[in-house]
Amino acid sequence: MYDLVWLLPALPFAGFLVLTLGGPRISRGACAWIACSTVGISTAIMLAFAVGFLIHPPAEHAHTLTLWRWIPLEAVGIPFSLRLDTLSQAMASVITGVGFLIHLYSTEYMKMDPDYNRFFAYLNLFVGFMLLLVLADNFVLLLVGWEGVGLCSYLLIGFWYRDPANGRAARKAFVVTRIGDAALLIGIFLIFAELGTLHIPEVLALAPERWELGSGVALAAALLILGGAVGKSAQLPLQTWLPDAMAGPTPVSALIHAATMVTAGVYLIARTHGLFELAPPAMQTVAVIGSVTLFTAACAALVQRDIKRVLAYSTISQIGYMFLALGVGAWAGALFHFMTHAWFKALLFLAAGAVINALHHEQDLFRMGGLRKKLPLVFWTFLIGAACLAALPLVTSGFYSKEKLLWDVWISPYGGPWFWAVAMAGAFVTALYSARLVALVFFGPARTQVSARPGGRVGFVLVILAIWSLIGGGIELPHTFAHVTVFSDFVAMTIPTLVELPPGLDAQLWTLLAVASVIVVAGATLGAWLYGAGAPAREALAARTGAVHRFLMNGWEFDRLYDTILVRPYVRLAEWNRADGVDKAVFLITGLTRAAHVAIQRTQHGQLRRYAAGVATGAVIILLIMLFQ
């Protein structure tokens, strides 16, 4: 059965091919059917695999399918082969599941767009590449998926290509991630030069034999891979592209820039966990990057005016949590949070999309409001999403995943109270801005007329996602509650767990849970008050902190920094030597020749007597030479 794994990416690719080659000949209805059915079938196959793995896992908890010999050389033989294990299944199930729902959502959301077919072709292509990325069993194939999703991200951010600003955002996304990709490439070269293979399981098996714990090579390899992950997952210092990426259609933001592609970095680190385990400083770096990112991005999210940018910064922040978890070795925790985050963040984006659509493409939070009554379905689902994001205790999946993550941070040998404290601070801010979002959009006076109401398919998708966001956390519960560890057991089949649970810490766990709950509730309450009844106090505060506000608004001014130190120098360099200075050097030769020509031309004065004088001079010189030889 598992040999059918090639269908997973092949179906969306086939959908892409049909839609591209068919072009405008395919009707909208057919296009929607093709796009959704390919992803839908992939989802079904994926679910069958997952169930199969749970019931009766194959030998070594993995199944490899080699499709063909791709780069067969003496020095390195790279097959085109897919590897199905629990890690790739965890990723792929989210990709196909969320992907399918978002396809379904888009059939309605994009119905007014003239480029309907192109949109679905790109979406299908994206799902195909993303599945290829998580199913690849060697680094080169992984790169195909890795860059492929980058391409789709570029295409979909710039989907409305007539506006140059969208094009700029799209190029920014591609180029910034490409910087990370260059690091990843170098890392792959290093791994190959040291270990002689690019097959990921072999690399993970060989690395501990060849490299000592804490060796420089392992550190270099891990840091270079981290560079790729940081770029793709929009973590510091390469996070600047993600807020701008919101220029794309909202379903794209939900699928690519929230649920799946941006978490590819998390996947990559989890996939190459063996290398990171060999390099504790690299682990520390991951944790520090994660914690710094989660806090800074959460602060930035707090002040944004554009609803999608709030969600974008919140995505960066949530991925920061995942990185923090990865950095402390809590692989399962990170992946669990990835999973719940994919559900509720997709939900938030899709609900926001419904709001934006209803308000005539208005994205400014301060021109929304009062939508609670007018869009009840959207309100309730958005509220559930925001609650998950804020990790409201007990009822949300976000709570369970974040608590597991924080608990792992607390007890992990790599983690500790400091990281936990930062994460808690981030959680407080998260709760604050989640409450702010809900308050500004759905409460208060209505500021913009509602022009369209979401239809059946949008509602259906929102409800499904909301239900999942509420109950999805049930697959993994803290052991003090019920001790459900379905998900971490599932992941542990592929990645042996690093964070051992010491016995007898129940009291600590209870305390931490309580503290976290209090902080989150406090944050949410404060947010609701500030953006509801306490508005005057908020405005007074805002007036006093204008500079800080602007600073956070611009995402800690990273854009300006990079613009100054990287972009503008490069552009200036390009402008400065536009005509190729080396050509000038060539002209130097021409110039010299010409100067010599002019100089010698002078002797051609046309006067007979001076020619005669020249001849005589020559005679004198020759005689002199002959004499004194």
Partner: protein, 533 residues
């Protein structure tokens, strides 16, 4: 005999096209296509036999026996790939010139076919004198193509092209004659035959200078970093078909020469020079990408991307290991495809809006979605998107080069970022953005679309299933490495430990004038050590 026809077909086709062109331009075009297609069909069957060792085919006629010069042709897998590339791009360049060339059509096709004749000759000549003959044969028709059918600044570009290639050709001639005489000096046999010269015993100094002569000649063609300035002008001023041939095929003769001649003939000198050559390659990658980004002329931009891409070949060849060499070969083929396609696209745009100025383009996706899709595809190929052929080439080159030089490879890898910048810039400037109200363009017609589709399928094929390509190039590269790797690596070791010094077997202690297979025995070092210039 088939080898002879590979050369004779385009040459005769050119003559007939010239004659027919007086009466009917259409006939000249069809004759050209027929001649090239026939050559392509003749060469194709050899693909299946490329796993055999040795030459796949040989052809020899005495020419000037007194000087040891013969009309000697031979083909192995490496040559075969490039010959096929030449024929394919030749056909496509005739196809895309169908409407855009309307003056002196017969003469145009005559020139095009004679360029191809010279190129194919370069790829399959095994007599160095003959090689040089074909090398020069490429230049003059190309000069005419640029000078007669080019764009507004064509005279300047044509003369620049001519002077650069002639000057480098002179170096090549001097080096070839020097090599033959050095061989004559030690063995008493005057010959220009490649196989025999492979075993030439040279002093360290002679090896260095001869190597530099060959190297510079090929580096100008490739073009490597400081010698690249002719390329931008020639490419941007040439007519579409000329640009395609120039970028797709002519540049490859340089890469071919590096692989076939420079390192195998002069392993020690090449090893000593390798860091500099690789640095030139990396400089080309970064510098070309930087310049490409700054251009406002579409064809000029594409021309600079060529410099960037061909830098990988220099980097790969002088790493001289299996991965890097295979990568260089794949890169040569795929660069021919992707850049050829970009030039065809630029030509299609020029046919429609009569400008190459990027600032007068934009928003063409609205009116020409097919062109936009193909443009996007080839821009992606050019930035090395994994899954397309160029990625295989660049990746293998970089993996191989990483083993030879870590810092240079790291720098070269930064080139992929720069490639993204300029490739996306093309897409943005030409196809995205708001359309100019003034410019209305039609989408690709079937002829143009067909030509581009061939290249698209090729790039996808090489990206997803490069095995046939790699297998075909495998045997010849293995033989070249068998011949030169040991000496190359020993010299590299010496360079790493002994501060840019390398040793050459003493020519006085020669045992065998013929091909050397017993390198360890003849490995008596003299004190002849030289430092790099």
């Amino acid at each position: 005999m088939i080898l002879f026809w590979l050369i004779a077909l385009p040459a005769l086709g050119g003559v007939f096209a010239l004659l027919a062109g007086r009466r009917s331009p259409e006939a000249a075009r069809w004759i050209s296509i027929a001649a090239l297609a026939a050559g392509f069909a003749l060469a194709i069957p050899y693909l299946g036999r490329a796993t055999e060792t040795g030459w796949l085919a040989e052809f020899s006629l005495p020419w000037i026996p007194r000087l040891g010069i013969s009309f000697h042709l031979a083909m192995d897998g490496l040559s075969l790939l490039l010959v096929l590339l030449t024929y394919l791009l030749g056909i496509l360049s005739v196809v895309v010139s169908w409407r855009s060339i309307d003056r002196r059509v017969g003469f145009f096709h005559f020139n095009m076919l004679w360029i191809l004749t010279g190129t194919i000759g370069v790829f399959i000549a095994t007599d160095l004198f003959l090689f040089f003959f074909f090398w020069e044969l490429m230049v003059l028709p190309m000069f005419l193509v640029i000078g007669i059918w080019g764009h507004e600044n064509r005279n300047y570009a044509a003369i620049k092209f001519f002077i650069f290639t002639q000057a480098s050709g002179l170096l090549l001639l001097v080096a070839i004659v020097g090599l033959a005489f050095a061989h004559f000096h030690t063995t008493g046999v005057l010959t220009f035959h490649y196989d025999e010269l492979l075993g030439a015993e040279l002093t360290a100094v002679a090896q260095m200078w001869l190597m530099l002569g060959f190297f510079v000649a090929f580096a100008v063609k490739v073009p490597a970093f400081p010698f690249h300035t002719w390329l931008a002008d020639a490419h941007s001023e040439a007519p579409t078909g000329g640009s395609v041939i120039l970028a797709g095929v002519l540049l490859k003769t340089g890469g071919y020469g590096l692989i076939r001649f420079v390192v195998p003939l002069f392993p020690e000198a090449s090893a000593a020079f390798a860091p500099y050559a690789m640095a030139m390659g990396v400089a080309g990658i970064l510098y070309g990408a930087k310049l490409a980004f700054a251009q406002s002329d579409l064809k000029r931009l594409i021309a600079y991307t060529s410099i960037s891409h061909m830098g990988f070949i220099l980097l790969g060849v002088f790493s001289w290991n299996e991965l890097a060499l295979q990568g260089s070969v794949v890169q040569m083929i795929c660069h021919g495809f992707s850049t050829g396609a970009l030039f065809i696209l630029a030509g299609c745009l020029y046919d429609r809006i009569h400008t190459r100025d990027l600032s007068r383009m934009g928003g063409f996706r609205d009116q020409a979605p097919r062109m936009a899709a193909l443009g996007l595809f080839f821009a992606m190929a050019s930035l090395g998107l994994p899954g397309l052929g160029n990625f295989i080439g660049e990746f293998l080159v970089l993996v191989g080069a990483f083993q030879a030089s870590v810092p240079l490879t790291v720098l070269a890898t930064l080139g992929v970022v720069a490639a993204a910048v300029y490739s996306l810039w093309i897409v943005q400037r030409v196809f995205h953005g708001t359309p100019h109200s003034s410019s209305r363009i039609t989408d690709l017609n079937l002829r143009e679309f067909g030509a581009l589709a061939v290249l698209l399928i090729g790039l996808l094929w090489f990206g997803l299933y490069p095995k046939p390509l790699l297998d075909t190039a495998d045997k010849p590269l293995r033989e070249l490495r068998n011949h030169a790797s040991e000496r190359f690596e020993r010299a590299t070791e010496l360079r790493r430990h002994g501060e840019a010094v390398f040793r050459i077997p003493d020519p006085g202690a020669q045992t065998h004038p013929v091909r050397r297979t017993d390198a360890p025995e003849t490995h008596r070092h003299s004190a002849a050590t030289i430092a790099l210039p």
